[in-house]
Symmetry: D2
Amino acid sequence: MSIATGIIGASGFAGGELARLLAGHPEFSLCYASVPGHSPDLVGKPLAAVHPHLRAGRAVEALPSKNGGSAGSLELVRTKTSEAARRCEVVFLATPPLVSAALGPALLAAGVEVVVDLSPAFRLRDPALHSKWYPAVSRPPERTAVYGLPELNRALLPGADLIAAPGCLATAAILALMPLSGLDGVRLSSITIDGKAGSTGSGHRLRSSGLHPVRSGVVAPYAPAGHRHVAEIQEALLGKGLATVGGGLRLGMSVFGVDLVRGVSVAAHVIVDPDSRLPSEGELASLYRDAYRDAAFVRVIHWREEAVPLPDPKTLTGSNYCDIAVFQDADCGRLVIVAALDNLMKGAAGQAIQACNIRYGLPETLGIDAFAVYPG
Amino acid sequence: MSIATGIIGASGFAGGELARLLAGHPEFSLCYASVPGHSPDLVGKPLAAVHPHLRAGRAVEALPSKNGGSAGSLELVRTKTSEAARRCEVVFLATPPLVSAALGPALLAAGVEVVVDLSPAFRLRDPALHSKWYPAVSRPPERTAVYGLPELNRALLPGADLIAAPGCLATAAILALMPLSGLDGVRLSSITIDGKAGSTGSGHRLRSSGLHPVRSGVVAPYAPAGHRHVAEIQEALLGKGLATVGGGLRLGMSVFGVDLVRGVSVAAHVIVDPDSRLPSEGELASLYRDAYRDAAFVRVIHWREEAVPLPDPKTLTGSNYCDIAVFQDADCGRLVIVAALDNLMKGAAGQAIQACNIRYGLPETLGIDAFAVYPG
Amino acid sequence: MSIATGIIGASGFAGGELARLLAGHPEFSLCYASVPGHSPDLVGKPLAAVHPHLRAGRAVEALPSKNGGSAGSLELVRTKTSEAARRCEVVFLATPPLVSAALGPALLAAGVEVVVDLSPAFRLRDPALHSKWYPAVSRPPERTAVYGLPELNRALLPGADLIAAPGCLATAAILALMPLSGLDGVRLSSITIDGKAGSTGSGHRLRSSGLHPVRSGVVAPYAPAGHRHVAEIQEALLGKGLATVGGGLRLGMSVFGVDLVRGVSVAAHVIVDPDSRLPSEGELASLYRDAYRDAAFVRVIHWREEAVPLPDPKTLTGSNYCDIAVFQDADCGRLVIVAALDNLMKGAAGQAIQACNIRYGLPETLGIDAFAVYPG
Amino acid sequence: MSIATGIIGASGFAGGELARLLAGHPEFSLCYASVPGHSPDLVGKPLAAVHPHLRAGRAVEALPSKNGGSAGSLELVRTKTSEAARRCEVVFLATPPLVSAALGPALLAAGVEVVVDLSPAFRLRDPALHSKWYPAVSRPPERTAVYGLPELNRALLPGADLIAAPGCLATAAILALMPLSGLDGVRLSSITIDGKAGSTGSGHRLRSSGLHPVRSGVVAPYAPAGHRHVAEIQEALLGKGLATVGGGLRLGMSVFGVDLVRGVSVAAHVIVDPDSRLPSEGELASLYRDAYRDAAFVRVIHWREEAVPLPDPKTLTGSNYCDIAVFQDADCGRLVIVAALDNLMKGAAGQAIQACNIRYGLPETLGIDAFAVYPG
């Protein structure tokens, strides 16, 4: 099998990571990479001109994929739906939500078999919720997508034509919280997610606050309240039956930029109702280990046995794992779930390929099973 | 006036920062700097041998203090109580809590007028609380200290002989939360502090996890629950009348190491009882501005008007300010208070000198009024 | 005395550093800060809106300068020559060379007493050399400036009306090499400068290569050959009589960007003619200590006696020192001179104020005598 | 084929990188990992206890190697020659030179087929040179090794039993300079290497200067002259016939620590005799491209065509490539060759496996052909 595959929006960070992974993937064959019309200076250049790590060299020519060695020399073209559809069975969209909302349905209509969208355009199932959080992103009401978190929606992926890859913070938060729905006789009072994120999450957009002198060394409250990923976290968790007192989900998130290029860490501070019992750390750990027993890419960490404090995105660079650890703080009736991942891997490109592997009945870990490069 | 001043524990990070500040202070004259007996290789060396930024040079000889230019050439001696007492009116202890617990009372008994201890040995007033959190640190029961947070205990400082300088995370957390006691008709349900801290907070101790390859680029859950600073935060806030439902203070803290050398940022996630009213962001901002109207070193930030997201320790390097911003998250009934500071300044040496300035009736800002060096 | 002072180009990194220093300067009173016409969004905003560390706060109101506390609230205006001339005796230009070439003479013609230009517009004395390296920057041929390196041109500064502040790499390189002209009976064969520079040296300009994800963690050969600072280094050194075999100066420079925000380090690799004698490290050290005996801001380091390898810009953040160490490599007949400085201080704003202090007969170190903030 | 393979010194950075690569290698099967006797706390722990990125997880169980998934759970044992020899055909020594000098011959005598030593114990062929640079490291005079730089000694590797893996700076420098021996009619006058290196190169040793607060943000002249790698560079280049005027090799090196975890960059400043012709950049580029036409892991960069300045170790993290670019500086008769690599890959573990692949007649790139993880 060799599945012709394309990347639209190939010049950004997620696009580059998709290209890196697809270049070494044994089944998906990267044969199309495009950039938007307003980047005419890139059209005609090889992929490696924007992603220097993908430059050709004799070593990479030995890669398993037919296209391995030549991935870096694939020529960037201007995005055209018809051409993409003619050349690709699968298209990954690493584009802004407005672009994805239009391109996704158009590509499917033009004959592409599977579209995996990395933007938030199709993540929220509820149209009202979508309109509230993404008022500018109108999308065809009849077009729905599978929210592509394999640990949540594995069964829905095989038949999917449109897959919405989750956000990086949302992936970490949902994986951190999902198992709590299995707690017996524990009433949760509120959940606060404190997220720390690296700079690739903000993309390639040119703005003063993203310059190295300004962005390095920060602990910057980018989104102290009202981060958009809260919506998809809520939708996912309510679907799993997780609730706090009152029946809904009292959940908020604050996100800080820290001095990382790659990486996301979330701490979910879960307040337990004072009149309810507080589960022990051991009970929590068992619950999580059971929940993720069959998960290829989730590891539950025994914090007290590690030489360095984990989970830590530093130990996950280039890997598709999400590491999770659970803690109990008896003094204040709190559970703390910490989850970390590489935002370009399990938080974007790696997860998109994981979902697509499942979609095609391939081994889930194909092409994304590398150990992290550490320390780095 | 010229007050003879000493530093015990001068070779660590806090000791170096005290030396830097005292070298330029117009009233405190640095005349004694000592290291523990188990650092014999340092005895006899000049201060600048361990703190290279304090090396002599013609420029610093022009500093206001009589000792300014020669601070770096002050010879490190082995700590001896009698010698310190003979040479100093004021002694700053930048020593581990076990050492401080013994030295503080001994120095006072030997005639030192004021001891400012930067360790946690004397921070907790309640002996039971102290024994619970610092079981190994026995201290004379009759010896009490003033908790040296000027914004909390200004009135107690002028008469003090023993001042316990607060911890860096505790300073940020208390300043972030203290004004909430002024909220009218709002019942708080729980408070979770998510702290992010740089590497100087962990001191000079040699251990594998502190090496550059291991420590750089981390978002590491050093203390996911049960951080010792929680005790002093609780004692300070309960003293101010702050409480959550039930009357006590349901307060927890999780601390993450991030890739900073200097700097601390805390986010206090304050959950408001769902049956209570939720104050608006404007109300909160007014409350905080009123609370800190006369505070020399606390600035309340208008987050939405700033070019970069603040508060951020990056903008506070070398400054004694604590910056604070307040947010409301209506969706989940949460207030978020973010506070940032330089852990060696307002979190340690700067604050110790601020307290000592007040102790001696000097202008509070003397010698610690520099702008931050930014960007750096 | 209180000298009315202005900054044109106040929104950049050098502009911000000038503002920070002037706000605390006892004699220069910052009363004017302007931005170019194409930054209309900044006009009318306070300085602190772009330089968050300069925000008002009660502490800074106690600063020595009349304007200290209110520096951050100084309103940014659109640059107008006439207004600047009406309000200022001294103007610092932190503008691109094209702008400076026009503004400098215009401001002097309009009555400003002293203009200190931080751009390269007036650095090169030789018009032919200027045309070669800065072909786009035409300047009035009759207008000459004093090259404002006090260690080189101290005697020329008191009468100057136009002072050209040297480049950061040039400052380090000239200070590193100048004393070599005092070597007796040693024929130098060639000099290669290998420079390492932080990101503030590249300014605020928005471009993809300056974004945090791309710029952090690099060792990037920005200018492997042909850096423009070579011209001013050559002009300064030839003026001091330094030459290599043949009589001219066989001198090249390669510059690498490294993961620093502030800081410059240069290594001058000086090849000695194999038929000439090779001076010892001791001889070199004596030569340098003699050369800088009276220099307020140059320190000659005894490398072998330091606890950490110096010179290092890390130990100079916020300080106006240039640290220098000398080495001999007998195996290959090489001298190595390493010099480090803070590019925004001794490499830009600090040095500009140092030169201006001398111009006005003030103590050279006034307002720029702070110790470095370290570690940070 | 499945070759039983061991790592002695498995707890360090190079040991961890070897483990990561061997865990995914299709032919070498990692079955033994040991630590020195003075690390008793590690004995009995799994590899993943010191290398957290190698923890088991379902994804890695799918790795190609028979041992892939379980590499992280391999139990660390105390080093014993007999046990290592009984269990392994190939042993990698990631040990200090004193240890390697004894263990290497002992393992071979005990029946191990191939020993690859990553220390400098066996790098220098000339016994006098070895005694000069490593006086403390005595080694059996009859035991010689192949210097394991495949681009230099490919033909010698197939028969080798003891392979000395080159140093990281030496690898970059030799690859940067080797092709110059092919220059026709050009007399070189001197060569100076300016190296910039990350912190993993200094290993795991606990010392104050390696702590994060002290080591981060530096540009520190660790070895301004007399770095030990000069010896192996000279031996390799003289063997290739490269010489400077006089017939020997006038070559020096200065090494700076910079704020990297992984990565090495060297700039070779090559001064051409003023009476000789200076080759053009085009001539140089052709020469280098020819020289490395068949090299699997050396890429010659067209600097002027890249979006970001290359070579840069940032673009090489986790990859086995060495990137090289050539420049000419006509003004001072200088050639500049810049080379970059990942010091744990092409500078240590990756290169050791590359050499071992060749030793066993395997494809040179087996198990080490991953693209770099970038940006990271």
